[in-house]
Symmetry: C2
Subunit: 190 residues, 2 copies
DNA sequence: AAAAAAAATTAAGCTGGTTTAAGAAATGTT
DNA sequence: AACATTTCTTAAACCAGCTTAATTTTTTTT
């Protein structure tokens, strides 16, 4: 049905066939073209999104009217504005496809019912959130210890798949650099 | 028994008296003086720590031999090197008391058994990790949109309790500033 | 209370990375 | 194939925040 979704969950918890069938009740699949929005600034983030196929970015508009990208999501990553989703508050972010994508959405009330009905899913989300925290802690450490140049080199060697799929200026934005500076760094490396 | 601990959990899930009694099986209370260590670089982070009373910091030693603080924890906050704790890998952090503290520790295997025995605790940790992610996402946004000066002003007005309990140079380190620059900012504000 | 250690301040010079402004190259669309 | 749009590059001037180094103030220990 949604092979990436189910196999991702099965990496962390056991799922019998009945549970898989029940899961489908809670999921809304979405087919989106390039540059379509799942969330816009001012809206409440009503769903948590799983990338079955494709690629998403999350960004906000800063005081100089730049699009500041704070997150990407490729296949089998989750994307959500946690603050807005948890407390039903208006988001300050946009969530947009970078490519044609297949997304699974679980809205607030489905999420709640699903976790109550299926304890494996409560466990699954505890585990992946714990892993997301580990990742956030590591990224944070990198930001303390690396210069922007090192941060860029580290990112582009650690995650070369992004350079294939995401324009350079978006990577620059995500890393907190100007596109001009990234251009300079690339020239330097050749 | 551990009033802050129990009341914190009860903010998020229901606990009956039996469960509270069972919980105690998994917890090791620690009384620590000022500047004692719960974790040192190279060790595996074997426990997740709850601050019942007092104050902790987490830091690593950077390439210039500075202590780079990445986290504080006051009463009813959790502290852990997620990466080390989850994958049993040597930590690159130190966790140390800033003041005399009372800490509750749950080690890796207790944590696992506790979550298996007490589904409320699985739920509790899913919720607090989700909230921690929301907080991390927010902090991250601040780092993109604020100058270091704004970041400092924002932190010191939003969390004045830290200025009371934590030396200024530690706050500077946590915010990624030099103590000299913080000094300059304070002078400017008066 | 004195000595030692830790923390905070001051000030001058410097640098990593930004800003501004054009132009060139690549990609998407008709 | 031509046009329009998006993305990338180049270069010079600039500045927020760091480095270095010395002094002062505060806190801790004896």
């Amino acid at each position: 049905m949604y092979p990436n979704f189910i196999s991702h969950i099965r990496k962390y918890v056991e799922l019998d066939d009945h549970t898989v069938a029940r899961l489908n009740q809670y999921i809304s699949p979405l087919k989106l073209k390039r540059k379509e929005f799942l969330l816009k600034e001012g809206q409440i983030c009503q769903s948590i999104y799983f990338v079955e196929k494709g690629c998403l970015r999350m960004y906000f508009i800063d005081d100089k009217l730049n699009e500041q990208i704070t997150q990407f999501a490729l296949e089998h990553w989750w994307m959500v504005d946690h603050f807005s989703f948890q407390d039903n508050k208006p988001s300050s972010y946009f969530i947009q496809t970078i490519e044609k994508s297949e997304i699974l959405a679980i809205n607030t009330s489905s999420f709640e019912s699903m976790l109550r009905e299926l304890p494996q899913m409560e466990r699954y989300f505890r585990i992946i959130m714990q892993r997301a925290l580990a990742a956030a802690q590591l990224r944070n450490k990198y930001m303390y210890e690396m210069s922007k140049e090192e941060f860029y080199q580290h990112f582009s060697t650690s995650f070369p798949e992004f350079a294939q799929r995401v324009p350079q200026y978006m990577i620059a934005s995500y890393l907190g650099l100007t596109p001009q500076y990234v251009s300079e760094l690339r020239k330097k490396k050749l």
